[in-house]
Amino acid sequence: MKNRLKVLRAERGWNQSDLAEKLSVSRQTINAIETERYDPSLPLAFAISHLFGLPIEQIFLSETGQPPA
């Protein structure tokens, strides 16, 4: 699934390790999500949404690049 994680963390000046630490996951997990190798679980997706203060659909996009219907 496409996502805007890299953009959002860059806006805040965080590197992958910073974001991993804030979400209590490994840096590999952040990298795997950003490179679209891995779709996070719902609890992690909600944690990301809460951290960035954005709805999930503004962070994760469908394969077409649009928010999921």
Binding site: K6, V7, A10, S17, N31, R37
Partner: protein, 303 residues
Amino acid sequence: MTAAIQKPAEKPARPLGILVLGLAIAALSATGRPEPESVAMLTGVGLPDWAASLAIHALPPLLAVAALLIGRAVVRKMSSTVKWIVYALLGMVVGMVTAWHMELFAGAPGLIEAANGPLAEAETIEILLWGLGAIYVMLAIMIGLVALFGSTAVSAMQVEDIDPEMLEVRRAERKLYGLSAIGMVTPGIACMALAVARQSLPEMRMGPLVVAGGFAIAGMIANWLVWRGCDELQRRTVINGFAVSAIAATVGAFIWAMASAAGYVGEVDAAAAFVALTIIQTVMTMIATSTMMGKSFSTARPA
């Protein structure tokens, strides 16, 4: 929504892994003893004994460095899974050539015999147990170095240019790496102790078996602690590895059973089944890790 703030592109970290690997293999080679046939081959073309021996000792590090340089040139722009397979194949070739020309850890059998009596010649299963044990110990040393020295160790083991961000190892991660190292070195020692038990005289087998059992239990505890410390991606990777291993092992066992019924292959004992399952599980877990996380050891491609 605001546009992305692009950080200035950082220069890729210069990989030190090739130099470090060359030095590590040179140190490993120093523990070895050249095979007499290989020495004779070189003295046959006019080299003095000392030069022939030196050349054989120099062969493994030179081959390893050459293989890495060739590997880097070949795998450029390939997926991380293909890269891993190419590097593994090159490593296997270097290992086989090294094993053909010299006996590594030449002093070890003498030490074991002094402690536990004479050892029989190793057969296929014992050789595989020694090999598995050595691979586990080698991986444990690499992971242990990351646990101890963090980013410095990761940087020292890189063989390709890499985004500097990939080199970061957080303090919390180092604890998990430390437990992983224990979770790898313990089954490695258990495998080698099982090999020693199988090669020992029947009345001398209890000692190495106690060692094997103790380290196997310690490994299980360490790996359970690692599992507890894993996040969701790491757990998914382990589960994926085991799931594919289960299918591969079941299909393999069925094919073996058919071949055995037809008289083409012999029966498999418990040690052979253990070795086969462990190899399948190790390979499948590495492939699963490579597929989901990029290459192991924080070398995933930059996002």
